[in-house]
Symmetry: C3
Subunit: 149 residues, 3 copies
């Protein structure tokens, strides 16, 4: 057994990354599914794999597809930060409590963010976005304190 | 010599990430090259570095530039997942066979995906996208089995 | 004390990732702030959190918001490559000098790139972009030399 799987913080990081990765894949799949429901396809050559009778998306996506894409892009903008900062935190030997708070808050907030974004629920979208951002800032602060100590 | 370079799974991960990173950089460069070929530039201030006589892109990119951008964005959406899940898999001490199958399938499928996307080849685009996604799901499943065991 | 925080290359990587992560968060916040200054909001439901009297963005963002978004997206396209390649370099036991040059050049160039992009300064945008790309290619070359040796 490797030393990393014995580290509870690494375990938590691995589980959070797994959840967030599946969420990214689901949002990508949802975009394609919604587009098909709107009888649209993205590329001229897609007529061979799309349902018959769909038309090309053109310059603007249908509103519900565009909404999922905004949720998708928003997640894409914060996910690489968590992937990098979370692992640096684990490898730097950050405290278990800090990992539980920041990893848990980020993952929970970002899963909820996608759900409330797609369902157009404010102020929840802003609140979950803020929690995700605070969790990342919390990781940065703890990493710098550990590394510069 | 560090312990990681002696780990065949880490070596494979490093090689796959190198290939995919170069591919990302090439797609970025290809976008700029195609734009120049279309006599377009992206920002008003680019007249100082663009060929003389180019015009501003405006709201919509030329179709062949937009196609490369879609291929680029599609890669950008899946690459961070592989970077994170691949390294977690290596650090968690996942099986060599699982690494060879998932790392190899993802890298091969995503390199081909960009090529068939730019050349508008269906159903190959859908097939290579699906293989890349299955490889990521395979990593998630193996990570969770290892970590939760 | 874990072994990683005793590794100067890991320390440098952690500091660079922290700086670049904060920069990503700032660019995201700047987009929202500029949109508010233009009296625009992105989603119909945002009237509950936006200043009164703002109107929906629609298909095209105001030019200064679109500019920040291009700077943001440009950073997003290169950041995951640095996060992955930088850590692989550290774990593979790359040379201290290579880390100082490539990590330092990438971080400095990308911070400057966002600033000169937002202020529309050419040829500086092209120069800083090129330096960032060379730093990534430098990491790929050194990783492959180490791993394939």
């Amino acid at each position: 057994m490797s030393t990393f799987t014995a580290d509870p913080q690494f375990k938590l990081y691995a589980i959070c990354c797994s959840i967030l990765s599946v969420q990214m894949l689901l949002l990508g799949g949802l975009t394609a599914a919604k587009r098909a429901k709107n009888m649209k396809h993205l590329n001229p050559e897609d007529t061979s794999v799309a349902f018959k009778g769909t038309t090309l998306v053109g310059d603007t996506e249908p509103p519900d597809v565009a909404r999922i894409q905004r949720a998708h892009r928003n997640l894409l903008e914060s996910l690489p930060l968590f992937f990098a900062l979370g692992l640096i935190y684990v490898l730097a030997g950050g405290s278990p409590l800090g990992a539980q708070i920041c990893f848990g808050a980020f993952t929970g907030a970002r899963v909820l963010h996608s759900i409330v974004y797609i369902n157009a629920l404010q102020p929840w979208r802003t609140i979950t976005y803020a929690i995700g951002t605070f969790a990342l800032v919390g990781l940065v602060v703890q990493i710098l304190l550990t590394v510069l100590a």
